[in-house]
Amino acid sequence: MFYRAAGIRHTDYRQTRQLWPLAADRRLLAAIAALALAAPLLLSPLALNSYLTPLLLWTSAALGLNLLMGGAGQVHLGYGAVMAIGAYGTVHLVRAGLPFELALLAGGLLAALIGTLFGAAALRVKGLYLAVSTLALQYLTDFVIVHVPAISGGSQASLQVPALRLLGQPVTSDAGLYFVALGACALLTVWMLNIRRTSFGRALAAIREKDFAAEILGVSAFRYKLLAFWVSSFVGGVAGALYAFCYYKAVSPEQFHIELSIQLLATVIVGGMGSVLGCYFGAALILLAPPLLNHALAALSRQYGGLIGNDLLTHAPLILYGALIVGFLLFEPLGLAKIYDNLRKSLLVWPFRHARR
């Protein structure tokens, strides 16, 4: 009813190969793109600055993690550390006088290098070992950043991020920073949508399903796992740097603690592993649900006088993340993206269920 699959006949390969073969999807996408471009006019600067920009940056980071977890089936519990490496690397290089664009690439490469080193250590073994070694990456990175004053600017200190200059132009307005985030996120989205259609993406999918079987098919599991780590850590580093430049504007080690890694993990699981769209859904839920929940709980406890204690209130986000991870893994392992997909598929043929293929 809402989506019309009727009458769409693809007559050549180019048409079937499109990213969005259905005109309804393309129209929806165009509408969302138009809204995203007009957002600075439609929303207050506060909403833009404190909700939409972080949402886009968060989605970018989740896209990187999702390539590794959903694409290649490798678990990563230290993605926050990768982002920290990218952020600190970029900020230091810009402070040293490098142009932002080069510094961003260099920061991403630094994150990729260190992230891949840790991945390489664990790729001889897998599963739990990989999970634990990425956890070790998180704690070691935190430790190094805090304890080397040359990186963090001293313990308990935060490092001022220089103003963003893109192609020589200073970008300081909220709308400008939003567009930088939007551009990065859109670029990453298109890239991630296409990556699964390349030989690289297909090799990763083979490894995700069974690495030995992939090896027998001639896909070098070690090489592609390393590549997946490399690409995903690069994206993580860039996302971390953009987070520092577009949102935080001052970096301190606490921003990239284990909590961030856990939240990103929850984002990917809740959104749907291996789904690009899922990253958007997951980011929206993980970023926006805790403040909403806290508001609701606070209102409740005001109404009924101390029904909900302060301890419960401060721990509500943590409870929410845990419950979301456990709940989605048990009841919908493919996440919100799968729920959307089911809905879309049934709407595609809505009054004629028998036409569903």
Partner: protein
């Protein structure tokens, strides 16, 4: 660096390491029985500390009764986790199980302090604060009691594998389908392993809670337990004992020697360094068997 200080750090570290090893025991038991990772051990330990405190203070039970009762509750809790969470994950990739148990850890880490209060609460086991003097070496009495009890429990776990149930558990860990074919109830055995994991973590939580007070930081024992489980070998119970001593001593000595030089925090990073070194040098750990996977 004089020898006396070094010995003192090593002895106290070894006793602390035994308490850590108790948490790691649960990881190894579950891995041995089911081949699954158990990343919820830290939360189990924290829950143990909180439960004991709650039963002793709110319900007014004597301390030994509170401790035993909370261990019983954790045994039941571990079995429930297996029945309602892990059993649904049979046939799913390992990654999903890792994330499920981690999700459980996060959930409990929020829920337990959220409901029972997040400020540090002392848990007094009646151990005098004054250190024990062995010659010129100071030994913390709480560490001594905790380490001793942990040692007893770990040796008990080693002996447990010779009991009828323990033999069944070994059979299940060796080959689930063969064990099932000869009439062993595989899911029952795995549930018991989870129950025992809950008990060992809970005991560690109570012991460690009496040392540092009960709050959410008890769940940080997870990382040290993981370091011990990996260093000792994921499927080796005696390995837990040896690795526990190594990690405990390394942590204590590193904290004593390096902290004055670089200004604190070394204690927390030793576990991570040990994990990384083990995975680089000898992935299956000191006593673990090398894992062979069939396609």
């Amino acid at each position: 660096m004089d020898l006396l200080l070094f010995t003192e750090l090593a002895i106290n570290g070894a006793l602390v390491g035994l308490m850590y090893a108790l948490v790691a025991l649960g990881i190894v038991l579950v891995y041995k029985a089911s081949g699954y990772a158990n990343l919820a051990q830290g939360a189990f330990a924290m829950a143990g500390g909180y439960l004991c405190l709650l039963l002793a203070s709110a319900a007014g039970l004597p301390l030994w009764a509170a401790a035993l009762l909370s261990l019983a509750v954790l045994f039941a809790g571990g079995m429930l986790v297996e029945r309602f969470l892990l059993r649904r994950m049979i046939g799913q990739p390992v990654v999903m199980v890792i994330m499920l148990t981690l999700g459980l850890e996060i959930l409990l880490r929020g829920l337990v302090p959220g409901l029972l209060g997040s400020t540090v609460k002392p848990l007094d086991l009646g151990i005098p604060q004054t250190p024990l003097l062995l010659g010129e070496i100071l030994v913390n009495r709480a560490y001594l009691a905790g380490g001793g009890l942990a040692l007893v429990l770990i040796v008990g776990a080693v002996l447990f594998f010779n009991s009828p149930l323990g033999v069944r558990m070994r059979a299940v860990s060796d080959d689930k389908i063969a064990a099932w074919a000869v009439g062993i109830r595989v899911e029952h055995v795995i549930a018991v392993a989870w129950g025992l994991a809950g008990v060992s973590a809970g005991a560690a939580g109570i012991l460690w809670g009496s040392v540092q007070g009960v709050d959410w930081t008890l769940s940080l024992l997870l990382l040290k337990a993981l370091a011990i489980a990996i260093l000792g070998g994921l499927d080796s119970v005696p390995g837990v004992l040896a690795a526990g001593l190594v990690v405990g001593i390394a942590e204590s000595v590193a904290a004593g020697v390096l902290d004055p030089l670089i200004g604190g925090g070394t204690r927390d990073v030793v576990a991570s360094a040990i994990i990384l070194l083990t995975i680089l040098v000898r992935p299956h750990g000191l006593f673990g068997s090398e894992h062979i996977e069939r396609v």
